[in-house]
């Protein structure tokens, strides 16, 4: 992608003496993982398009500690949390938006007790707000019309925080045919990479979790598997490859679907 994105950092804003409305928390996956970086860029495109007054922490951002906490390393988690909270509070951050449900959950639920109180939103919730307040216009997208899309609920958005409708509302706005998997919403099956699984080999079993979940998705005969989490995206992409379907089925973040519709 050569298109220039406007991505101010908090440090720059502070130097200019202004306070951005929104902090976009990119997260480690969104910053470093090649696939997730595309999601990050897609979301920033939307932010730019809607003229959202936002900034990122850039090199001052550090892991939320979610994965360390779930691996059992409470020390490391709290070290990360307190360091991040110091930075966030120093910039007087009030609102945070993130495209990663793991960051979302940790920032929203686990930081307040440690002194970090922010209004935290998942990007699908935030984009919904942009649409309803008229800052972003999405019409039905011709290239998506008639496409079957199934939505994979990220555990840390769905069950963990009861956010089921925001991503679905966005998909409906795009005018696609939304087909639900037999296990969806609060009974959705995990993609397999939460709880620090992303960073280790699975235990011995007879199948990989992401393959089982991909089979759920394939039953709906989708053109696109949509999701809202960088880990889910990786796991489902791998699952689709394992099933030799990568030529016919795309795995996309909702932010990417929306961003594409803006072109």
């Amino acid at each position: 992608m050569s298109e220039q994105l406007k991505v101010p950092t908090m440090a720059q804003c502070m130097a200019e003496g202004r306070q951005p409305e929104i902090l976009f928390w990119v997260g480690a996956a969104g910053s470093y993982d090649d696939r997730a970086k595309k999601i990050t860029r897609a979301f920033v495109k939307i932010l730019n398009k809607a003229n959202v007054d936002f900034a990122v922490l850039g090199t001052e951002e550090s892991s939320t500690g979610d994965v360390a906490k779930r691996a059992g390393n409470e020390f490391l988690f709290q070290m990360q949390a307190m360091t991040n909270i110091e930075v966030l509070n120093a910039y007087e951050v009030k609102r945070i938006v993130t495209a990663c449900p793991h960051s979302y959950n940790t920032l929203k639920n686990e930081y307040p007790e440690l002194g970090g109180n922010y209004q935290v939103q998942h990007h699908t919730q935030f984009i919904n707000e942009l649409i309803s307040s008229g800052k972003l216009n999405i019409g039905k997208v011709s290239e998506l019309s008639g496409k079957r899309i199934t939505f994979h609920d990220p555990c840390y958005l769905g069950r963990a925080n009861d956010v089921y409708e925001a991503p679905r509302e966005l998909l409906k706005t795009l005018g696609v045919e939304l087909v639900e998997m037999k296990r969806s919403r609060n009974s959705a099956l995990c993609c397999g990479a939460g709880g620090a699984q992303m960073f280790k080999e699975p235990e011995k079993g007879d199948k990989d979790i992401n393959v089982l979940r991909t089979e759920d998705a394939l039953e709906t005969k989708p053109n696109i598997i949509a999701t809202g989490c960088p880990y889910c995206n990786t796991m489902m992409t791998d699952g689709v490859k394992a099933k030799d379907k990568e030529d016919s089925i795309q795995v996309l973040d909702i932010a990417e679907l929306i961003a594409n519709s803006q072109e």
Binding site: T40, R41, K69, R70, G72, N73, M82, R159, N186, C190
Partner: protein
Amino acid sequence: MNYIPNILFALLLIAGLGYFARNVKKLVRNIKLGQDVDVSDNKSQRRKNMAMIALGQSKMVKRPIAGFLHVIVYVGFIIINIELLEIVIDGLTGSWRVFSYYQELYGILIGTFEVLALLVLLSVTIFWIRRNVIKIKRFWNSEMAGWPKNDGNYILYFEMVLMALFLVMNATDIHFQLMNSGNVVSQFIAPWFSGLPETTIHIIERSAWWLHIIGILIFLNYLYFSKHLHILLAFPNTYYGKVKPKGQLNNLESVTNEVKMMMDPNVDPFAASPEGAEDEMPAKFGASDVQDLSWVQLLNAYTCTECGRCTSECPANLTGKKLSPRKIMMDTRDRLEEVGKNIDANKGEFKDDGKQLLGDYITAEELWACTTCNACVEACPVSIDPLSIIIEMRRYLVMEQSAAPVELNNMMTNIENNGAPWPYNQMDRLNWKDE
């Protein structure tokens, strides 16, 4: 007058209730072996949860067939127990169906009981078929082999026999049949006995009556030894269950204090603790045995009725891994019982038996297979949280034993060094902007 039956009845009642009370005391003591935890928050939400989930069975009906049958058995169990009151009064005073004084109301009451008894009998039979003939998978996982499987069936047999005795007792009560009010089901059973002499019928009636009350007392005392405690503990368990978002894990307070000390430049690490302040360093981080868990987690373990809905939704279990959330709960309970017996045998003191929950019951392999997806927590019809136990034990493995899988240790080192689970330079964190 002959008072022997009344005295016998009173003795039976005292023995039955007394033994039960003794075990309840033991149960409470065992649960209190857990760590203290503040559950005084969100009282109204907690009351609502108890009303909806335990009383209202809201989560049971998520699986319609089992849920519907369970509601019948549950309602039947509660309502038919009103009849117990009459049985107790009759038994103690020697009266005959003391409530029948209000004949019309009595007919409605007993009629309802009879219909429910029949429905319960049917439902329990279907439950038995589901377990033993259809062999629904979740009743046949490896942790169900042996006692847990038999336990499930014994409970069903108990309920079948109790309901049958209730109906037979009514059918052979000649006076009650003559009243012809409320015998909506038993009137069809009565003819089976019609050829018998009146004294024989009377003996059958008395036998059924006695066996019914004795059966109830045995069943009551069976609870403590079985998975069936949920009929009582579901209520406190749903009240004390998690009221925060499912994704929120607790922040260990002991760690918070440590980390704050580490990050505060003004703290003198070598300073002696202030006068009078207790050394608050916890014995250990995380949990390796049941005493390290919170009392709510131990209550969870006693509440589990081994239905296996958690395990049937667990992604790790569904893909053949060893982890089963139900087994986590069963192991916790079994170990807690073992610790309790140890305390009983050693005059109130726990003597180290060289065993612990971690390793002897739950293996690290099971713990590391969890994706923390909360499917088990969502699936539980009585608000049990197996995930919280898994996390506590992972904490012990990592913080006390440095026993995480190698790849996870690498991941944690990366976070320590460069603020991301991958080995990338922190200074490259914004590179995505220009790619």
